[in-house]
């Protein structure tokens, strides 16, 4: 089942409240998104940990309900 961009954003914000999030629906099918997430909480984490934090926020939907989310994570001053 496809997910809405707003739902993805809301889930991420629930776990990472300071996140600045840009979501793009790549194919217009509600199933292939790209997301850029910027948060101060990523400081000191490597990319794997940063992505894991976002995946954790999505509570198991990544790889299931949410088929494709190309992810880019950054800290505010990078």
């Amino acid at each position: 089942m496809p997910m809405k961009a707003e739902d993805i954003k809301a889930l991420i914000l629930e776990s990472i409240p300071d996140a600045q999030i840009e979501i793009t629906d790549l194919a217009g099918d509600g199933d292939h998104y790209s997301a850029k997430v910027i948060s101060k909480s990523f400081e000191g984490m490597n990319r794997v940990k940063q992505h894991q934090a976002v995946y954790a926020a999505l509570k198991g939907r990544m790889g299931g309900e949410l088929h494709a989310l190309a992810l880019q994570t950054e800290t505010p001053n990078s």
Binding site: V48, H51, Q52, Y55, M62, G63, A70, L71
Partner: protein
């Protein structure tokens, strides 16, 4: 209940310098994300092992548990999880992947 594939995955990761767990194999990737990483690895020219996770359900599930990472492909270098497609692509573009391979002495043969 522990997935028996976890042990097998651990062995593969530890016994190969560069391993890509993917959908399909290097000759016939069965997913665009896996294919993208293969292109990067082929370009880099370092030898790598490809593992097709679609061969068994245990492997397909186990690889997600092994590094607590929900998607495939997954790249491992010298026993360490490097990332999935997005991270590999980003590291390739920034030159970090090349530095990592050089640092680990994986480009000498090329």
């Amino acid at each position: 209940m522990t997935n028996p594939a976890l042990n097998e995955i651990d062995q593969i990761v530890k016994n190969n310098d560069i391993v890509l767990f993917m959908k399909g194999n290097a000759q016939f990737p069965q997913c665009g994300f896996s294919s993208a990483v293969i292109q990067v690895l082929d370009y880099m020219g370092a030898p790598y092992k490809d593992v097709n996770v679609l061969e068994t359900d245990e492997m397909r599930q186990g690889i997600k548990e092994y590094s607590d990472w929900p998607t495939i492909p997954q790249l491992y270098v010298k026993g360490e999880f490097v990332g999935g497609c997005d991270i590999v692509r980003e590291m390739f573009q920034s030159g970090e992947l090349k530095s990592l391979f050089e640092e680990k002495g994986l480009l000498d043969a090329a």
